[in-house]
Subunit: 396 residues, 2 copies
């Protein structure tokens, strides 16, 4: 007997950032955060979990490579899910109970390159937790369990617009994510991810947060001010008030990176290309005399831009003008391109004197065009990543 479940989960982009833990072991954040879950058509983790009495040991494959299952964070997630499932079992004598003693195989992959530097671990852990939840027929919220894998993974457990409450309890049991609006709430909202061409390795976010918590004097002031910002951006999302949403998003991104720079030794995730993107957005908004595009940056140089459907073509035209690909690439713009008209450059003339800089050729690898999207989903069994032998299909 083998029980097998395949699920998918999305990436999320924080608009009020999580930077700094109040508890390293429990992955409790120093401040609450707000995110937008992105559509899985463009960015998705997919995970198959199988439990069988034939399996001799727990095993895990990520993007085709077997990994060590003893990774503490993976172990935390499996242990916590099983603990919750056993507790539920004693209450309801669930049919899935016997599976709890079987060994499991886990196989996971992303539909986008890890090299893109897009929080793949958040989607990955959310997907693992959601698949195990389905496997063991667990009820209730599992975002706090996803959090034990990767802090921001708890936000990928929900679709649409999500708040991760830092919680009050010392055991972290109330540090969980909740949806504040579904992805259908703001149909005109669009997302562009500008993937920057760069080789450099940056400080990982886990390590970066630790050093910032330990050394940045300014972070304390930031943490104090987050609750007010969350209230404001929640209202802006509720009202579909793009201007307020955009300005809070940009200021919060800048402030997180300011705290990184105030770290000792300082941490810089923004490169000259990132800073040029910021400049382009502000020039565009000034030129249009309203805030029509917002940027946000995580622990890397890639920009995530928010804008409304009506402005996408005009802005993309500018991006292609000032960050031209080296050769005219077919797939420079990826994702939901059917929504875009074929020829971007015809009806999009802007007064270029508003943009006082030269093009930076070959500085972007590609652009992903997407929208907010729903949360994790169970997929039909034909999409399983594991074969009937319990081994990855990609290896057979």
């Amino acid at each position: 007997m083998t029980h097998c479940i395949t699920c998918s989960a999305p990436v999320n982009i924080a608009v009020i950032k999580y930077w700094g833990k109040s508890d390293e072991a429990l992955l409790l954040p120093a401040n609450s955060s707000v995110s937008v879950t992105l559509h899985q058509d463009q960015l998705q983790a997919q995970t198959t979990v199988a439990a069988s009495h034939h399996f001799e040991k727990d095993r895990i494959w990520l993007n085709g490579q077997e990994q060590c299952i003893n990774n503490p964070r993976i172990q935390n997630v499996i242990r916590e899910i099983k603990r919750r499932a056993r507790k539920q079992k004693t209450d309801s004598r669930d049919i899935a109970a016997e599976r709890l003693n079987w060994k499991i195989h886990i196989c996971s992959k992303n539909n986008f390159p890890t090299a893109a530097g897009l929080a793949s671990s958040a989607a990955g852990y959310a997907c693992l937790v959601y698949a195990l939840k389905c496997l063991y027929k667990l009820e209730g919220d599992v975002s706090a369990i996803a959090r034990c894998g990767s802090g921001s993974a708890c936000r990928s457990v929900h679709g649409g617009f999500v708040v991760w409450d830092k919680g009050q309890r010392l055991d972290g049991s109330d540090s969980m994510a909740r949806q504040i609006q579904p992805h259908t709430h703001w149909p005109d909202l669009r997302v562009l991810i500008l993937v920057v061409n760069e080789q450099k390795k940056h400080t990982g976010s886990t390590e970066g947060m630790q050093v910032t918590m330990a050394t940045s004097q300014l972070l304390k002031e930031r943490i104090r001010s987050v609750p007010d910002k969350i209230e404001q951006i929640t209202q802006a999302i509720h009202d579909r008030d793009f201007k307020t949403f955009a300005e809070i998003t940009m200021k919060d991104s800048n402030q997180m990176h300011a705290c990184c720079l105030d770290t000792y030794p300082p941490i810089s995730y923004l490169t000259d290309v990132s800073r040029r993107i910021i400049h382009l957005v502000h020039c565009f908004n000034k030129h249009r005399q309203e805030t029509t595009v917002a940027y946000t940056f995580d622990a890397g140089p890639n920009a995530c831009l928010f804008l409304l459907k009506k402005d996408v073509k005009k802005f993309l035209h500018l991006v292609k003008r000032f960050f031209p690909p080296k050769t005219e690439e077919q797939d420079f713009i990826r994702g939901n391109t059917k929504q875009l008209m074929e020829n971007l450059s015809n009806d999009c003339e802007e007064d270029l004197s508003y943009f006082p800089f030269d093009p930076m050729e070959d500085s972007l690898r590609y652009i992903i065009y997407t929208t907010p999207g729903p949360g994790p989903q169970e997929l039909p069994s034909d999409q399983s990543l594991l074969g009937e032998d319990g081994l990855p299909k990609s290896l057979s």
Copy 2:
């Protein structure tokens, strides 16, 4: 009758930065600051002022070009100097009194390119104020008058290590600079200025400070913490405690730039080259297992580095290795090069695996090697920039 005075004044580099005014009109700073005055052999403004009953109007030439004398800051300085001189005159019937009613000619130049982005206005205003002080035989401190020209100019009125107290009085009369140690106090201290090759125009510091004051939430926290830092760095200078001096200097530079990034729209003075210099310094210090080099950045990408004489050759070797000039330039390293041995690269082998990055060719324009230095000085009359006709010698 023509009275003519020629003076020189130095550049200064802040180690506790001035960023933000509490009074725009009086140029009062939001926080006190600390600086090191650099030696005039390398970086110097030179100014001749002449007063004559033959002159028909006040005139000014900067670096060979006549400028409008009605610049409000120049007017502020001239008015304030004359006001003080008249007040003194009524007390002492000074011989210089009659000159106060004559028109003046001012001629000023720098011995370094303005394009280097090194606070030339500070040296320029300090020099103008000092020359006028000599011309009118004014007594007492003139740093508060220099402040009315360009805030940080008040620090260039003194040599060595200088504090600019923000002061308490609303009229700004106690917002002045004082020397905390002469330049001879720390004979081993050396300064390297890495002039970055870049075309981009940045936000001017006057405008930048205004926007930061108006929009940065984090700046308030920074301003609150400055008095403690000034106390600590003053003690470190007194003790010639390089490690403490260096760490406070680096942290304060990072924090000022963090507040710039927390500004809306954000301001970035640091480029990829600046950030690489920062990284090189931290790698070097880690490798040496002690803090032997410190960086600080003003409103631009150029780095000012502090280090001790014993470490200059080793560190310069690394700078040349990782920021090589495009062609082997004779004058890549300028300034006090007689102090350096001819062949930098021989006895300076470092384990380069500590420096995990590739060289950035042609990213530095040149390097200036200098030391702390004395304050403004009166020069012999043969160094006058004005001829006997009261016009710039460079024009005749």
